[in-house]
Symmetry: C2
Subunit: 180 residues, 2 copies
């Protein structure tokens, strides 16, 4: 919750500005309006042959559980650049980013997840600072009961289905459950 103005340091009040329809943090001193908007999480599903790169989280939330490389998109990058950066940061993985594959809105936490298909340039991966361990797993080795987030499970399930069909179709949806 915003309490002070990031521009002048004055106290803010939360009220609906004229011409707006939602309460905003409005500075009581300089009148600056500070907007809060959803955040994007960008990531990828990096494959090497029939293997998929997964990472064991070294940080909260879901420390010790497995995820696909993903993280908050940064300013001044594209969604694809963000997805490639996260693979490098979390698994020292060099990837070629392909098509957008899954996109989920999580309105209860004001986040949007975007996951891209990706190809590892080489299988030489190792844990980055946010990972305890990284692995290239076959379908049989996916730790389904130790996945960190719903969007990881859904993205893996869609990928395995589509790989069997031989056709990759993007999936867009929402995840409303309190579990991510």
């Amino acid at each position: 919750m915003i309490k002070f103005c990031q521009s002048c340091g004055g106290a803010v009040s939360h009220r609906v500005p004229e011409g707006d329809s939602l309460p905003r943090a409005v500075c009581t001193r300089c009148r600056h309006i500070q907007y809060e908007n959803p955040k994007m999480v960008v990531g990828c599903l990096p494959v090497w042959g029939d293997r998929i790169l997964i990472c064991k989280r070294a940080i909260e939330p879901r420390l010790g559980l497995w995820t696909l490389p993903a993280g908050f998109m940064e300013n001044h990058e594209t969604t694809q650049e963000g997805a490639a950066r996260e693979a490098l940061e979390e698994a020292n993985a060099r990837v070629e980013i392909g098509e957008l594959y899954t996109l989920y809105s999580l309105p209860h936490i004001s986040q949007v997840y975007m996951m891209f298909l990706a190809r590892l340039v080489d299988p030489d991966v190792s844990p980055g600072i946010e990972s305890l361990e990284v692995k290239l797993v076959t379908e049989d080795e996916i730790p389904w009961d130790q996945l960190a987030f719903t969007m990881v499970r859904l993205t893996l399930q869609h990928y395995l289905e589509d790989r069997r069909r031989g056709v990759f179709t993007p999936r867009f949806g929402e995840i409303r459950a309190p579990s991510r």
Copy 2:
């Protein structure tokens, strides 16, 4: 540029926190880190038969130029809900949101645009507070030289191409030019 902490009102310094790789606004008093991330703009291309809904902007930027209904996604909504809300706010238009159609990163302004295909529930539209005028136009009536943003031009071009082919294919890309 963030100058003061939104949590305690203290002065911030811009530096790379331990374990991070980018400068952040770090409070010199309470140590709170305030992240800045890209914003999502969600919108749609509402059609009624062979006509497309366009809106003449009543606000800056690009006041007086034509756009598709779109705006900043709000917290606690899905991308589709945001796109429908914008159509209602800008053109009093009731729409059924369809598939995600175009997605563009604009890294120079740290924005991501997502435009959905949409069907008007009825042709009864009128200007909302952010529009000077709204119109249902045929292909021949699109004011190509008075469009507000590059993403509007691209989305319209793709739609008209796809409508001729009879197949709608999502397009994902980036717009790096200083013009939006």
